[in-house]
Subunit: 367 residues, 2 copies
């Protein structure tokens, strides 16, 4: 076997003999046949994977690390997911813990185009943590969304994103919403002298999303948001190839419960497939990610890989403004902090609440 | 609220007060804000969902049924998934059990174009169960794949599909493979006088898949296979709109462990999004679907809905030829039985083993 392999570490919870279980897992992910049914010599030598290690976790599980030749992926962003977790995802005793790609894998995927430094450059914010908020609820007209966008921009937010549920609604059509919000952000930016990024949500069939993307490009939008688990990771990969300076924010909608560790799914795959920032639920909010998962995920997103810019961790999910200091101490300044509901609850005091959030982030980052 | 609602039944395993948990779940899936932060009257009246019922399952869980106005879906195949299980999929105490769509929902999605009767018509097989097998392992050249395809076709199989891991590999390029296998199937069909369908696997970024689809159309292919969870359910929806008589077979790769019941995910969504047949692991094989899940799923796929043709259940996953009778007794004749590995294990005896499989299905169906 060549050195050019994908390594995948699975956590296996099996009462079967672990060697046989590991062998079955390896076969399932590429040839999908018992070993004795592989009679073709080229396939035996060039396609069949290998079990690299089996480690007892001492809590009844095993870590099984399997190598598959990179060529099984067909150098293709969709087929790679098949090799990692196509059929085995249907087996409840298996969890993807960690993936490691050979150099040509990272090169094929390419990862974020801008990453942390590219987004910082767009905003001219060199060292402090970034602030992010969301336009919602669904149901507002484009004019009301634009007004909300203006308030957030005047309040000093760095990145104002659409809620992930904002689609091409009859009561709030995509183009009208995006045009008005983008204009509102630009105008507020001229007034305050502070750069702000408005990030529209792209959602629909792939052809609709690609059209929405071109529309955003024609307006001069700096960043778009995608839900890779809902519209497909291969679509995100395709868009990144055409992005040409437009940053990608990845939202985890529909991602839940795919039996992968958060590190593998959001930390590794989302970044490798091109996200410049990855939104995820911070622990202690209304989602059940653990403190350890959040730490590991954020570290993975910023971990050095050859040729791959680091991406922003974007903790979110019911974060109260009172937690800014605690959270930035946890993550450090290369973080984009996303607070939505906790600002919008302020009602008439929205501008003030927004300014407080922005000031707190600046203050904590300067400490 | 109008009568035009999406109803979703979630199984909730929560130690919190169930009324509050249900309210939070309802808010999460559309407005994603606390109720007090929804100040816009139009949104309150036209977007906010409603809790229809909360039922104690008497095993520590609750069934919570929530109605969301259809308009929250933006009449969009991607946004609908957000409404059903966008953010809540990240919450480990929630499982989607069942979905019911209003008439305009089924009309927008459209479901299978051909369904059971359309596929039967293509094959001129009116009442017996259908036979299906897979071309594998990955690693064979296009010529060897075509030879395998020919053997299966001579053996009398109805549908010969690519393995889901067959992508556009350097050692087995998509176009060459599809051309040769299609031709081999056609030629064998002329010799035997029995119609056979070869179903290529479409895999890649959305634009690549759409190109592959057009290539298949130009050849005259009758059926293609997709992995909707890997390349996106919205892509399947887009392809079905253009299908024009080409049937769609849906493969469950990467589907696992998305916290939805098999009935909701594979039985309802896959069919509604356009699959004419849905492959899934039959119980007792190497995947852990239960007998009950398999029965419910197969019934759901064939259940009458206004304007929606029934789709074939395609049980698979390590089925031995010796189980044909048992399985067809379980599912009845409106079934496409997929056996791959158990045929390929026959080595030199492949043609004979294939014929046995085909004969058994005909015999059991005639009983």
């Amino acid at each position: 076997m060549s050195n050019s392999n994908i390594h995948i570490t699975y956590k296996v919870h099996s009462s079967d003999d672990i060697e046989s279980r590991a062998e079955a897992l390896m076969l399932e992910q590429a040839v999908e046949l018992p070993r004795k049914a592989i009679t073709d010599p080229w396939t035996q030598e060039n396609i069949l994977g290998e079990i690299l290690s089996i480690e007892d976790t001492h809590d009844g599980d095993h870590h099984v690390t399997i190598a598959h030749p990179w060529r099984t992926s067909a150098n293709d962003a969709a087929q790679l997911l098949n090799v990692i977790f196509g059929n085995s995802s249907l087996q409840p005793d298996v969890l993807v813990e960690h993936i490691s790609l050979p150099e040509e894998g990272l090169e094929m995927l390419g990862g974020p185009q801008l990453g942390i430094s590219g987004i910082r450059e767009k905003l001219s914010v060199q060292s402090r943590a970034l602030t992010c908020t969301a336009l919602k609820p669904m149901g507002l007209t484009p004019d009301k969304m634009a007004e909300l966008c203006r308030t957030f921009a005047l309040g000093g937010i760095d990145i104002i994103k659409d809620d992930h549920g904002l689609a091409d609604h009859e009561f709030c059509p995509f183009k009208e919403r995006v045009e008005k919000c983008f204009e509102a952000a630009q105008k507020a930016s001229e007034e305050t002298g502070k750069k702000v990024i408005y990030s529209p949500n792209l959602l629909g069939t792939p052809s609709a999303v690609l059209e929405q993307f071109e529309f955003c490009r024609s307006l001069g939008v700096d960043m778009v948001m995608l839900e890779p688990m809902l519209t497909g990771m291969p679509l995100m990969h395709e868009i990144v190839q055409k992005a040409d300076g437009i940053a990608i924010l990845a939202h985890p909608a529909f991602a839940g419960a795919l039996r992968m560790s958060q590190v593998a799914q959001l930390g590794q795959l989302f970044r490798w497939y091109g996200a410049d920032g990855v939104i995820y639920p911070h622990f202690g909010g209304r989602f059940a990610y653990s403190e350890e998962a959040c730490r590991d995920l954020s570290e993975e997103l910023r971990k050095p890989y050859p040729g791959l810019p680091p991406a922003f961790p974007v903790p979110a999910g019911g974060i109260k403004t009172s937690r800014v200091k605690e959270i930035l101490n946890f993550y450090g300044p290369n973080t984009m902090l996303l607070i939505g509901g906790s600002l919008l609850e302020a009602g008439d005091q929205l501008l003030d609440r927004t300014r407080e959030f922005v000031d707190q982030v600046a203050k904590v980052s300067a400490e």
